[in-house]
């Protein structure tokens, strides 16, 4: 708990300490992927249901947020609730279809991937609603007085213009981390973990595994949708590839797997590590090889394999082990 206060405070003060610019951008991207990771972690890390298509939730959240403003001129502060709740409902529907028929393991992973692809195609196929492959471009607000009302910080004065979206994603991240932290300490959380550990035993002990998984996929969807809302407000643009392409799905699962599955801090650690290494790689290998796309992917893949092979509990597990050794504490006397 004390650790989290320090993390929250450090992240809140970072723009003041680092000045704006490159480093804040780096942190902002880290937090964005940490939110995607936290969304995935609720279902994958705590519930053991590995989704390969969490982009479907990112994209749905983003499209609802964009289209409600674009088509109906609804306030972004209102549309965001529809984006989050609507995506939670989509999550429940996908969960219903997958879990009802007992899909587990790689079958579940494949069905989520298929849903993301299906939504990708849908977003392209109905231009009268979604503008198809061109994507949805929201109008830029240039009136400083309407900056807050339009949830657009570009003309909101220099501090907000520089850092408004940093604080937006920080708030979303802290909310998602708090929700996860709370969840761990409820009956629902204990039952979700039990389902992950052993579904038969969980059911023998009175747990309705189907309902628990439905709950988890809805929360996962809601958190991931919030990342979509942030994205749309920041870039004022969304198109099918960004929304439903595989890159968001992959980032969402990299962060918690590397950082530590089923831990509150895992997605943040993992995201920080991935992007830190990514930046370092760009500065070194990237310089040496020239700008070749894909170098970072090879690097991430290598890291993922190393983590899976040597750190089954991710960086969070490594941290806990080091801490035990340093303090001489035992934890499992």
């Amino acid at each position: 708990m004390a650790g989290w206060l320090i993390i929250a405070l450090a992240l809140a003060l970072a723009p003041l300490a680092l000045g704006s610019g490159r480093w804040v951008e780096f942190l902002e991207l880290t937090l964005f992927v940490a939110v995607l990771g936290q969304g995935w972690n609720v279902l994958g890390g705590y519930g053991g249901q590995y989704s390969f298509g969490n982009a479907v939730f990112f994209g749905t959240g983003a499209y609802v947020q964009a289209l409600l403003q674009y088509r109906f001129g609804i306030s972004p502060w209102i549309s965001l609730w529809f984006a989050i709740a609507g995506t939670a409902a989509v999550g429940a529907a996908i969960g219903w279809l997958s879990f009802r028929y007992g899909l587990r393991g790689s079958y579940f992973a494949l069905i989520t991937l298929a849903f993301a692809e299906a939504f990708h195609v849908l977003a392209r196929s109905f231009p009268s609603i979604t503008e198809g492959g061109r994507g949805v471009q929201l109008a830029l607000n240039q009136d400083p007085d309407r900056a807050l009302a339009t949830f657009q910080f570009n003309f909101a004065g220099s501090f907000l213009a520089e850092n408004g979206f940093y604080y937006t994603i920080l708030a979303v991240f802290l909310a998602s981390a708090f929700a996860t932290w709370r969840m761990e300490r409820t009956r629902f959380g204990a039952q979700l973990i039990a389902v992950r550990e052993n579904e038969d035993a969980a059911q023998a002990l009175g747990i309705d595994a189907f309902r628990v998984k439905l709950g988890a996929i809805s929360i996962s969807a809601a958190i991931t949708a919030a990342a979509g809302v942030y994205y749309v407000q920041k870039y004022l643009f969304i198109e099918p590839g960004i929304a439903f392409g595989t890159s968001k799905s992959v980032e969402a699962l990299f962060a918690p797997i590397i950082g530590g599955l089923g831990t509150v801090v895992g997605p943040l650690l993992g995201s920080f590590f991935i992007h830190g290494v990514g930046e370092a790689a760009k500065a070194t290998i990237g310089q040496a090889l020239g700008d070749r796309p894909g170098v970072d992917l090879i690097l991430f893949g290598t890291i993922l394999i190393l983590v899976l092979a040597f750190l089954p509990r991710g960086l969070a597990g490594l941290w806990a082990a080091l801490w035990r050794r340093l303090t001489g504490g035992d934890g499992n006397a």
Binding site: I193, N198, A201, A204, L205
Partner: protein
């Protein structure tokens, strides 16, 4: 309290449970014995909702529960343990038992407190913080029992909780199970350890090739010739009788 009528279940051509009828009266300890592969675990799986019967009915406290989901049957008051232990390996003993306690208790602290009580009751009070994966086989069997007990069942189905334990551990567990019955939980148990069966059971059913071949007090059934033959092979009862006559 538990009524099983004409229950059958086949796997392919094999009749694992064949037209079994039995009842377990409230407040008793009833045991189910039989050779390996007799269908005992399958019968438990049918009662607890993990398998659906091909035919027959199961009712509990007067209500039909045939084909209900396992979690619903647990909430109705019947809980099973697994012969092949199924711990939540990544969790501590305390957390494992708390999962059971949550079935009746929403509040996290209450569930943890209840788990602590149950752990003490089955003699795991000193192991609360140990990871379940670090337990010995005896510990894991106990954990199965503790977790099940934490759900506050009225009927406890125990599948070979004594297997793999030494004589001292068996003695302890016999006392624990008796104490559970004395607190009002009815117990139906599968057991190969005859010493435990004889000491615990008020009544015993014998299953062979899926069918019930005998029922009665433990003493009655274990001296019935056809039961001895089921265990030791055809003609064994006669040979045993001859042996005894020879010694006399």
């Amino acid at each position: 309290m538990l009524e099983v009528r004409g229950l059958s279940r086949s796997f392919g051509g094999l009749k694992a449970v064949d037209d079994v009828t039995l009842s377990v009266p409230r407040g008793q300890i009833v045991s189910l014995i039989g050779p390996n592969g007799a269908g005992k675990t399958t019968l438990f799986a049918l009662i607890s909702g993990f398998l659906k019967p091909d035919s027959g009915r199961v009712s509990f406290e007067g209500r039909d529960i045939t084909g209900h989901k396992p979690h619903a049957i647990c909430r109705a008051g019947i809980v099973r343990t697994f012969q092949v232990v199924q711990p939540f390996a990544g969790l501590s003993v305390h957390e494992n038992i708390a999962v059971g306690a949550h079935t009746r208790l929403r509040d996290r602290d209450e569930a943890l407190e209840r788990a602590r009580e149950v752990a003490h009751r089955v003699g795991m009070g000193a192991m609360l913080d140990r990871p379940a994966s670090a337990l010995t086989i005896a510990g894991r069997k106990r954990l199965e029992l503790a977790r099940a007990l934490a759900t506050d069942p009225r009927l406890l189905l125990l599948d070979e909780v004594m297997a793999g334990l030494n004589a001292t551990e068996i003695g302890e567990l016999v006392e624990v199970i008796r104490a559970i019955r004395d607190e009002g939980v009815t117990i139906f148990l599968i057991e190969h350890v005859m010493q435990a069966v004889m000491r615990l059971s008020d009544y015993t059913h014998v299953l062979n090739h899926g069918a019930m071949i005998a029922s009665g007090t433990p003493r009655e059934v274990t001296s019935a010739p056809h039961v001895i033959e089921a265990y030791l092979g055809h003609g064994a009862a006669a040979r045993l009788a001859e042996l005894e006559a020879g010694h006399a």
